[in-house]
């Protein structure tokens, strides 16, 4: 009788414990951004898809310093993390997160947009316009635009926590214009909001390029969010890229997110060399 009980208990224990049931390889997925932003949404969606193949531990690092520390602590294990290209270029705390052929999975390429409430008539060159923005690098960019515009009266730049707050500020009339690095939140509210100028030199969904109003260093710069790895050899990285491509090609929360991200593109289907070239280009342009 005792034997039967022991056998049943052992079976239950083994089934309940993923370590015994199937020895999956450990993978640390690290969100280097805030918990309330789109980085968390994207990385959580990756976790949901990757946990069938890996023993995933999801870590909220909330910044570059902690991300670096965690990557050091998990050296020898596999890690998959997200890094904002503009920060890798401009923020010394993030300068080690540079995309290379050894670490790149893919990048999310996007172009910023200036937007306003539908029907609003705004003249940036006349000035006196309140512009909502988020993140410190965007402040530098807005100042460059401002000096290139030479507006009659200065425009006011209003700093918000994230792109959601920027969109909300324009929606509730707190500011006249908003600037965001990525457009899905603008297009999601297309019944209330309209793009004014896009940083994409070819324009975006009928929104004219900013170059058509003013040209300056950065007026047509795109940005990338880079998806990078640590602890993968060349073959493993190629296999991992294939797994990520499969996730993007399957119906799930992640592929739905990127499909809805109008005006943006991902480089996962490109050969690794091309993906590195694009990622490095969009990091390096911000270094000047």
């Amino acid at each position: 009788m005792k034997k039967i009980i022991y056998t049943i208990l052992t079976a239950i224990f083994m089934l309940a414990s993923p370590t015994f049931a199937l020895a999956k390889e450990k993978l640390y997925v690290i969100n280097s951004g805030s918990t309330g932003g789109s980085f968390n949404a994207i990385m959580s969606a990756y976790v949901a898809e990757l946990k069938d193949k890996y023993d995933v531990t999801y870590v909220q690092a909330k910044g570059c310093t902690k991300t670096k520390q965690i990557l050091e602590k998990v050296q020898g294990s596999k890690a998959f993390y997200i890094s904002q290209g503009i920060k890798a270029a401009l923020d010394p705390k993030c300068d080690s997160f540079v995309p290379t052929a050894e670490n790149i999975v893919h990048s999310h390429v996007k172009f910023g947009m200036l937007f306003a409430r539908k029907g609003a008539v705004l003249d940036l060159k006349a000035g006196n316009i309140k512009i909502a923005y988020n993140s410190t690098p965007n402040k530098v960019w807005l100042e460059k635009m401002e000096s290139a515009l030479s507006a009659k009266s200065p425009n006011t730049h209003v700093l918000y926590k994230n792109s959601t707050a920027v969109v909300l500020a324009v929606l509730n009339g707190e500011t006249d214009l908003g600037y965001v690095n990525t457009t899905p939140k603008v297009f999601k509210n297309k019944d209330k909001l309209a793009g004014v100028y896009s940083l994409n030199p070819e324009g975006d969904s009928g929104v004219p390029p900013l170059n058509s109003l003013v040209k300056f260093e950065g007026s047509e710069y795109g940005q990338v969010d880079n998806f990078l790895t640590q602890g993968f050899n060349e073959q493993e990285l190629a296999e991992f890229r294939k797994q990520i491509l499969d996730i993007h090609n399957t119906d799930n929360n992640l592929s739905a997110y990127f499909k809805k991200a109008q005006g943006t593109s991902v480089t996962i289907s490109l050969p690794k060399e091309k993906a590195v070239e694009i990622a490095q280009h969009y990091v390096n342009i911000w270094r000047n």
Binding site: S44, T136, L159, T164, L168, N172, E174
Partner: protein
């Protein structure tokens, strides 16, 4: 929706324990279950929370009525009126009145709110920095003014704000008191701070409470007799619903405000007729309590603003899973999911809290002091576990143990102003920076 029911059921199960044992409450229960809950998705967490938060309101009145122990301050009217009825041999009516009242209160406010759900969806778009600043200021003023010592409360708010400001802010990436330490840059951990300064003082305050199980007897009557008694007093229940709903928005106090205000108004209405062991006052307070519990959830679900500590913990857990509550994520579909869940949970809780009340009372046979001791030890392991998930277990434990003496010193005081200021510190920066830009530029 159906796939969420098991999570709501689990919430109900733990809600029975959290509601029965005084001083444990929802926050401590969520903490104890943290390692287990982190396997849930965001929506499953919400289902669990709806289960636990609604059920505790039902069960708390049993503990109050039978054992005269207030599970939380919202149960004080039940201790006074319910226990008096119990001593008069009317315990089953006190329990059924509280349970039916709670059920009616919950469903009534749910129905009314569902009529305005489209307006609620658009409410977010009116949520400007000015309105946010007004709300936060009002809340802090209210917490200070409702404290026994206003100066002391101001001091606690200041300390809470300073603690909450440690770390690097997302909005402008400015860091405060981080000393180039990667751990400090992520801020002081919510769990360590809230356990040391909020939960431990409550547990210590309830340390000497005892269940006296000897002679527990709940005489039962026919279902229709109970129902008739409730219907005869339904006016008090409906008054409690309305008062409780609006009072439930009171940050920090929420259900305590709902039940005590409904109770006070009902007593005032009866004035000379009032005698201790008053069924109407009890039903009004309990109905108000549950209406308040729903109202308390709304700011979190609609705007993403937690107004009680357990909601702050739920919010943190949900965002860690990539699930943002409130704001642009609030929509009719989400509301309906929560609404169906609430109906289901309230129905089950009604049955547990009324016909099965005497079985719930068996929990009174447990050695409560031992349970409290175990819970305090469990907290230490859980802090370590949660920290280890972020490679910060030492940091989490150091913060907890550094703040613990402060929590012990403050055990006789209400630490809610401190806790609330800690929770909203980041939000204050998030609102004040754009306002500064808008006003001074």
């Amino acid at each position: 929706m159906i796939d969420l029911l098991p999570y709501a059921l689990m919430g109900i199960g733990f809600g029975v324990i959290a509601g029965f044992v005084p001083g444990i409450g929802i926050f401590a229960t969520l903490m104890i279950l943290y390692p287990f809950l982190m396997d849930f998705t965001g929506l499953e967490l919400v289902a669990f929370y709806v289960g636990i938060s609604s059920t505790t309101q039902y069960i708390g009145s049993i503990t109050a009525t039978v054992f005269a122990l207030p599970g939380e301050s919202s149960s004080l009217p039940s201790v006074k009126e319910g226990h008096a009825l119990y001593k008069q041999g009317q315990g089953s009516f006190a329990i059924s009145g509280a349970a039916i009242g709670s059920f009616v209160g919950s469903l009534f406010v749910l129905l009314i709110t569902s009529l305005f759900v489209l307006e609620l969806e658009n409410l977010y778009y009116l949520y400007s920095s000015y309105i946010q600043a007004i709300i936060i200021s009002l809340v802090l003023c209210f917490l200070i003014l409702s404290s026994k010592s206003k100066i002391y409360a101001v001091f606690l708010v200041f300390i809470g704000y300073i603690l909450g400001s440690v770390g690097c802010r997302i909005i402008d990436e400015k860091c405060f008191a981080t000393f180039d330490n990667g751990d400090l840059e992520t801020g002081l951990p919510l769990i360590s701070v809230l356990l040391a300064l909020y939960v431990v003082p409550i547990v210590l305050n309830n340390w000497n409470l005892k269940f006296d199980y000897t002679g527990v007897d709940i005489k039962s009557e026919r279902f229709t007799v109970h129902l008739k008694k409730y219907i005869d007093n339904i006016g008090a229940s409906l008054r409690g619903t309305l008062i409780g709903f609006f009072a439930g928005f009171t940050p920090g106090l929420s259900t305590a405000m709902s039940s005590n205000l409904s109770y006070a108004v009902e007593k005032w209405i009866q004035r000379k007729k009032y005698k201790e062991g008053n069924y109407k006052a009890l039903v009004s307070a309990e109905t108000g309590n549950n209406a308040g519990a729903f109202a308390c959830l709304l700011p979190l679900l609609v705007l993403g603003i937690p107004i009680v500590p357990s909601e702050a913990l739920l919010y943190e857990m949900a965002v860690a899973k990539g699930f943002s509550l409130g704001g642009e994520n609030f929509n009719v579909e989400f509301f309906n999911t929560v609404a169906y869940m609430l109906v289901f949970v309230n129905l089950i809780a009604l049955f547990i809290a009324w016909p099965f009340a005497k079985y719930i009372c068996y929990l009174g046979k447990l050695n409560y002091k031992q349970i409290q001791g175990l819970i305090l030890i469990a907290f230490i392991f859980i802090i370590g576990y949660v920290g280890s998930e972020l490679f910060q277990s030492t940091y989490y434990l150091i913060v907890f143990f550094l703040l613990l003496p402060v929590g012990i010193l403050l055990r006789k005081h209400d630490t809610l102003p401190l806790v609330f200021a800690f929770i909203v510190a980041d939000r204050i920066a998030t609102v004040s920076i754009p306002l500064e830009n808008l006003i001074f530029n």
